[in-house]
């Protein structure tokens, strides 16, 4: 749904080049629509509108005939219109566009660009063309076909009226400046085939002075700043030499580059020891594929910030070159440009620059990523094979951000995890999710992603990354093709191990660990998960009266105090409200197999636990005073087991430090998955103890064999009090004794260490005893005699 406004149209209308639809029928956007009463005729209503061409704004009046368009809503703020019958005339010394007939192209549209009100002094840079008052003649002179309709002002008659000395003066400048700009190639395509009028044009080169009459717009105003500090000196009129970006160097002298803006950063304010300032930068890409970053400071930043639009073509000249800062600048260029007051930026139009691509990538294959350095910046393209949902992550500084990961596959047969942070999760992430959900496999191109390393290599987005979904590149098409043919079925090896969620996910602890490990006492709160049962709930003060006012999209929720007359006052919002919210503040006692503790649950967790809203519960207790019902609800809550995510933090109350726990999330206990978690934990515990041996517990997949029947009949083992850590030692010794059953090694059951009846080693049970199964080479390594014919011997010994 691309709608392009006629760039520069406002400027041209302002300057008088364009005064009616004969000159041009610009496509503009209405950024504001106001109803005014006409002075002469108080009963008639007129609509005043502000028109924008994407860069500048201007006032306009809607012809009375068109009022109904506004009234029935087909013309509104944001609408895109084409002026098919209009006149730009001077009313009270100001030029106003009066629109008699227009065509509504789009009724509703977001404001395009960042238009600012046009001032005649604004005409530099992009609109320098306008300046070219000598414009009038440009038309024919330019022989370029254009997308731009630049209509030349044919109304000489009118212009005469407005000539003033200053205008003439300006012409001088205008001439001066126009020369460079008028070089045929890139500056402006003033050619206007569609203007289609055979109005007499003066050949530009011939005769600047004769164009003076054509400059009605230039009311007496100071010369535009661009020329202000140049003065009427004779300038070097040579047409700018356009050099490729890659050819720029600090020794280049006067240079001009023609390039497209691929990226524009926000205007940032900073303060350093030298004082305060602002800065913004943008990246350029030219026809040869060269890229360079351009930075502007302070006044220059102000000057150019509004002009630069991503995707547009500009001619940039006279900046200074310095070595690039590689930490921030990831473009493949050793230099970066800094603009100053003498620099110029002029917008140029598409036709003669169709060859400059919008973006440039240096794609690497996923396979390459594995061998690349961490923290290097790359571009990558691949097929999204899977995408997960957004999770909220706590950053180190305590703020929350969004994270979303997906798997990217490509022709190298490898897949990598790509992590999106912040806004990417919602915007592109959601789009990708939608495509994937509907069964598609979109192509995703990432520009400027950083390689990170955790469990293998992964790619994450950084502030200046750009994501492109199903882009139109050759590589994308090739990928899609490959995927259709083979990619779908080819198993991809992932170079990033599956890392589920954030590091903070589900750190399972027992309640006793809160005390033992002194959780919450460090600077930051600790987030843990426990599986516990609610033992008791304090039921007076289970809720508080809260402020219902929304601050942005968050509820204020501060406690409100009663004013006595039924209204409530919130201190934070400084307002009175009639109805307050009721929010839960539950004090609960929870217990697991290790310990018991108090926690507090607020609104969200509270609702989950109680099963009803705080307001309802409040009504039950206090308003309706249904004691029985209340009690039964309370009773239901107790003795239910939940998985609780707690935030534990030590807080100071007066003199003492107390560790407080808040329930952040409540989940009903899913026995099945909880059991699995516990089994995993047991495994880990066993492995840890058995770390002296290279045996990895295989999770009891071995089936019990004949050997075990004999063991079974051997009766119970005597728990011994042998220290767990020494177990290995005992095992060795006992083995030498032919593994008498009473070997101390079978000892520490209580501690949960496994001891194998068969061989006396730790780390597995008899069922898994590797000596029962084929003695494998690795076991030989543990100790000399182990690999030997132990099993057989043992069987025999029974």
């Amino acid at each position: 749904m691309e709608v392009s406004l006629t760039a520069g149209a406002i400027g041209k209308i302002m300057s008088g080049e364009v005064t009616s639809e004969n000159d041009m029928m610009p496509v503009l956007q209405v950024t504001d629509l106001k109803h005014v009463k006409a002075h002469q005729n108080p009963t008639s209503e007129r609509f005043r509108m502000v028109l924008s061409d994407g860069t500048h704004l201007h006032q306009g009046m809607l012809g009375a005939d068109l009022n109904n368009l506004v009234k029935d809503g087909s013309l509104q703020s944001g609408s895109i219109i084409r002026l098919t019958h209009f006149v730009g005339s001077i009313v009270q010394q100001r030029r106003i566009v009066i629109v008699m007939v227009l065509e509504v192209i789009k009724v509703k549209f977001d404001i395009i660009g960042n238009p600012v009100p046009i001032k005649p002094s604004d005409q530099r840079g992009t609109d320098s063309g306008i300046k070219l008052n000598t414009t009038g003649s440009e038309q024919q002179g330019r022989g370029e076909s254009s997308g731009v309709r630049q209509v030349i002002n044919t109304e000489t008659g009118r212009s005469n009226a407005a000539i003033s000395p200053q205008v003439v003066q300006r012409q001088v400048f205008g001439t001066g400046s126009s020369v460079p700009a008028s070089t045929p190639s890139s500056t402006r395509a003033y050619s206007n085939p569609s203007a289609g009028h055979g109005a007499p044009r003066q050949d530009y080169a011939r005769d600047p002075p004769t164009t003076y009459p054509r400059q009605p717009t230039y009311q007496p105003q100071p010369p535009p700043p661009m020329y202000a500090n140049r003065g009427p000196v004779a300038r070097n009129e040579a047409p700018p030499r356009i050099i490729p970006i890659n050819g720029l160097s600090p020794y280049s002298g006067r240079w001009t580059i023609k390039a497209r803006v691929t990226n524009k950063a926000e205007l940032r304010e900073y303060s350093n020891p030298r004082g305060q300032g602002k800065v913004f930068s943008f990246d350029l890409l030219d026809a040869d594929g060269g890229e360079i970053r351009v930075t502007c400071f302070n006044a220059v930043a102000d000057q150019f910030y509004d002009q630069i639009v991503v995707g547009n073509l500009y001619l940039v000249s006279r900046g200074s070159l310095r070595p690039a800062q590689k930490n921030f600048n990831h473009l493949p260029n050793d230099y970066e440009i800094t603009l100053d007051n003498a620099s110029t930026i002029q917008q140029c139009y598409e036709e003669d620059a169709g060859i400059i691509p919008h973006h440039q990538f240096h794609f690497r294959t996923v396979g390459d990523i594995e061998s690349m350095e961490t923290n290097s910046i790359i571009d990558v393209i691949g097929i999204v094979s899977s995408i997960s949902t957004t999770v909220a992550i706590m950053k180190k500084n305590g703020t929350e951000t969004q994270k979303r990961s997906l798997q990217l596959k490509d022709m190298s047969g490898r897949s990598v995890e790509v992590t999106m942070w912040g806004n990417f999760c919602n915007a592109e992430g959601q789009r990708l999710q939608n495509i994937c959900d509907s069964g598609g496999f979109p192509v995703l191109a990432v520009k400027a992603g950083r390689i990170s390393e955790f469990n293998g290599k992964a790619v994450s987005t950084i502030g200046s990354s750009k994501l492109f979904i199903d882009p139109d590149f050759v590589e994308a098409l090739k990928l899609k093709d490959w995927f259709e043919r083979e990619g779908k079925s080819v198993p991809c090896i992932s170079i990033s191990r599956e890392f589920s969620g954030s590091a903070r996910v589900d750190v399972r602890k027992t309640i006793s660990q809160i005390k033992d490990e002194k959780l919450g006492t460090s600077e930051k709160p600790d987030w843990i998960t426990v599986s516990a049962t609610i033992i008791y709930m304090k039921f007076d003060n289970f809720c508080y009266t809260a402020c219902p006012i929304m601050n942005g999209d968050r509820l204020c929720s501060k406690k409100v105090t009663s004013n006595g007359d039924g209204t409530w006052r919130c201190e934070k919002c400084d307002k009175n409200v009639d109805e307050c919210d009721y929010r839960y503040i539950l004090q609960l006692q929870i217990q697991d197999h290790t310990d018991i503790t108090w926690v507090t649950a607020f609104q969200e967790a509270g609702e989950e636990i109680m099963g009803m809203s705080a307001k309802d519960l409040y009504h039950v207790k206090y308003v309706n005073e249904e004691e029985e019902k209340f009690e039964s609800i309370i009773r239901k809550v107790a003795f239910t087991k939940y998985i609780l995510k707690l935030k534990v933090k030590e807080e100071t109350y007066g003199d003492e430090q107390r560790v407080k726990a808040t329930v952040v999330k409540v989940d009903k206990l899913n026995y099945s998955s909880d059991t699995k978690t516990i089994l995993d934990a047991m495994d880990k515990l066993r492995n840890r103890d058995a770390s002296s041996l290279p045996i990895k517990r295989e999770g009891s997949h071995h089936t019990v064999e004949v050997v075990n029947t004999s063991i079974g009949s051997a009766g119970t083992r005597d728990p011994s009090s042998v220290e767990r850590r020494d177990f290995g030692l005992h095992a060795h010794q006992s083995r030498q004794h032919g593994n008498q059953y009473s070997n101390g090694g079978s000892g520490p059951h209580g501690g949960g260490a496994t001891s194998c009846n068969v061989c006396g080693n730790s780390g597995h049970v008899s069922a898994n005893c590797p000596s029962v199964n084929e003695p494998q080479g690795q076991y030989r390594g543990t100790s000399g005699s182990y690999g030997g014919g132990l099993p057989r011997q043992h069987v025999g010994s029974y």
């Binding site: 026995y671 099945s672 059991t675 699995k676 089994l679 047991m682 009891s700 089936t703 019990v704 075990n708 029947t709 079974g712 119970t716 083992r717 728990p719 059951h749 949960g752 496994t754 049970v765 008899s766 069922a767």
Partner: protein, 106 residues
């Protein structure tokens, strides 16, 4: 609850260890016949349970009884365990109860 004769948690593989003893197992019903129920143990072995349970039967049953052979149980008590059951967890339980943590059980 009668604790005089505790039953051992078994799956298919462990059953043979306790022939003649009281065992308990959860099986998934494959088919029901007169006088017996054929089911699948939690480690995918076929078990025949002799006896007649009261209908209705759910998908999973726990049977407590005497192990007659390495794949037959003569059931005394039948309990419906519902239609959804995590067999893998139960299997792990059997292994642990008979291996590492025997002392906790019987």
């Amino acid at each position: 609850m009668d604790t005089t004769s505790p039953a051992v948690f078994v799956n298919g593989a462990l059953l043979r260890r306790y022939i003649g003893q009281k065992v308990r197992a959860v099986i998934q019903v494959i088919r029901s016949e007169i006088g017996s129920v054929v089911g699948k143990s939690t480690d995918d072995q076929q078990i025949v349970v002799k006896g007649s349970p009261q209908p209705p039967l759910t998908s999973y049953l726990e049977v407590i009884g005497i192990a007659e052979s390495d794949n037959t149980i003569r059931a005394e008590v039948w309990t419906n365990f519902g239609d959804s059951f995590d067999a893998q967890n139960y299997n792990e339980l059997c292994k642990l109860a008979n291996g590492e943590f025997r002392h906790l059980f019987i």
